[in-house]
Symmetry: C4
Subunit: 217 residues, 4 copies
Amino acid sequence: MLSDPSAIDRDRLSRCAQQLADAGRELGARGWTPATSSNFSMRLDTAHVAITRSGGDKGRLGPEDIMVVDLDGRAIEPGLRPSAETALHVQLYRRFPDAGAVLHTHSRTQTVASRWFAPAGVVRLHGWELQKAIAGTTTHAALLELPVFPNSQDMRVLGAAIDAWLDAGKPLPGYLIDGHGIYAWGHDMAEARRHLDAFQFLLDCELDLIRLGRACP
Amino acid sequence: MLSDPSAIDRDRLSRCAQQLADAGRELGARGWTPATSSNFSMRLDTAHVAITRSGGDKGRLGPEDIMVVDLDGRAIEPGLRPSAETALHVQLYRRFPDAGAVLHTHSRTQTVASRWFAPAGVVRLHGWELQKAIAGTTTHAALLELPVFPNSQDMRVLGAAIDAWLDAGKPLPGYLIDGHGIYAWGHDMAEARRHLDAFQFLLDCELDLIRLGRACP
Amino acid sequence: MLSDPSAIDRDRLSRCAQQLADAGRELGARGWTPATSSNFSMRLDTAHVAITRSGGDKGRLGPEDIMVVDLDGRAIEPGLRPSAETALHVQLYRRFPDAGAVLHTHSRTQTVASRWFAPAGVVRLHGWELQKAIAGTTTHAALLELPVFPNSQDMRVLGAAIDAWLDAGKPLPGYLIDGHGIYAWGHDMAEARRHLDAFQFLLDCELDLIRLGRACP
Amino acid sequence: MLSDPSAIDRDRLSRCAQQLADAGRELGARGWTPATSSNFSMRLDTAHVAITRSGGDKGRLGPEDIMVVDLDGRAIEPGLRPSAETALHVQLYRRFPDAGAVLHTHSRTQTVASRWFAPAGVVRLHGWELQKAIAGTTTHAALLELPVFPNSQDMRVLGAAIDAWLDAGKPLPGYLIDGHGIYAWGHDMAEARRHLDAFQFLLDCELDLIRLGRACP
């Protein structure tokens, strides 16, 4: 049974569409959404999510590029087909009741880091002051683990890997997909953006250290 | 026998000249057309191609910087001399009847990758989600081969190497020339731009992985 | 006993707030103040300092984002709480009577260099013409030492390490904190900015040389 | 005996000052003139040169920042003191009668390359298509040698090293100074800019190849 489209708060949808367009334009300008990749979403209410549609230049999003889905990822308006990655967005809204915005991008740094750390399955962040930009982290001395899941064109395979991580009780501040990109989120768009920026910065620093040989001999 | 200049659709030529100027300005702003290098073209009809003239700043193309040649690379208007690389553009239009736009640039990444992969003769792309931006590629698991041909100041030598690759029945999604740059194309300018952007991103990622030592130990 | 707020020269405070906002906007645009990190200050008179308040985007500073503290780091207006790092700023104004402006940023280069050189405890700069941009340095042949102090969430621990360095009589042209960022200063904002730019450039060059293997074999 | 200031063509001086300001603004925006470094000049006539004065931000040059010197580097107007590097500019105008513009910058790439190649004393460029941007080079197969001279705060020492290179009959398309930067020139400002851009691109490519391990194994 589909949700009732008339139940959506149109004012809230309009404000979310604007925030999604702003995020797309600013992240696109940095080259984090190459070709027609990447997708962004915001929670509208306890049962609905506004999300970017498949394809299109994410740097130039208009109201017509945003659609509404329920928490199972089904379009509430007939005839619109959600992108495949919608399944990963709604999984996060189901598993994290506080999540209000989800950002999926693939900058060069995110893509390369995902590939380089894939054999280890995780990026272990430690000793960086900027870890404090991630909600719940209060010291550089904490260990922050960002998992890397194997890529798949089948979203059920990807979703199952993420569920397995969470079901094992491990903290999930964000995740990478091998050769593909990153998912970051927050209670609102501002926090999701801060988390995305912090992960980009920390991954840049980690890759720089590796290129340097980790530490001065 | 030369083509008849009066047979050219002037409206189509004007629209193509605008798209070529837009591409030149945007690619030039990224530093992909250093000095007076690079050239761009679009197919006008089954027998003609609009192409940038030799020399000049490719970031500031006006109508007078575009000329029309036939599929053998001869100017249809007497007195205009096409650039040497025109031969490589028309070869692509002859061999790929669907090709509508060809872009030749030499960014730092394209140039360095061409040189580094020259001994192998090919860049083997595998495992990157963004490979899907190349027409006909539907999964990151595909193998995408981008050949690197030796550089020559004699376009006949270069053309023969490309013909030999195609005559051997190998797919050709684009190609590099050693120490020189890249050729990318598509059925229209938008697809040629998407292919060029995807190759730049994928070459950047490959070079980054090599600098990191391929994968975490 | 707190200072008397009415003793502050409001014109000077207003001019300093403008210079702090300009510095924040320009350094923020370069990505040197990720998330809500970084802080900037200027000396108002022999007993007071204008400094950025905790949190907030340092790229968009308004007059309300600046507060006045005494040289012990206490707010002169009741109810305002200075950021933790205020203690490090006022330490510099106490120890260097000529210091007129202090800048704390954490660019990727500053952060990575701080981490890579941490085991050595110091970056030894030598042979760079741009060392002459640091006040008191007149030749590339001089040795310029930039210490790296271990990071701590306790500012008293950090302050003690800096005091110990100075009490040992060693020159301190600026300093790094491991995994965190840089502190640079000057007799006015222009000199502080020049010092910060020079350290960024010199750290970039040092890291580049290390990635290259120091020198051609 | 000093030159007669009234002998200077004021219209030509004004046009040169504009070209020098344009070059300073564009090169400064790229970060190639850190702190108050770098200097630029143009030949006014057979006996005079317009050159930037010492100090100041080279990104914001006004007419008052340009002075006129003779080919021995002496100011033609009493009271103005030329910068130390003026001696290196006029040496180039004396030794190359066709030189019309000289640019001295220190980008990060130029500075790092100067330091890395200093032990070899020369950068040997070979196999790059963009070498053709250097006047007199018609093929990527040519060998282009860019010497690296040891840095000195004494311009007479530097000048003697350059004279020795030229007196040995070796071609000099430009030169680096160890830990310092580059000098490039051309018959006019456009050619000097093209040479400077080409050297920057070629040095970037060479350093990239070294970081990659020269060639694919």
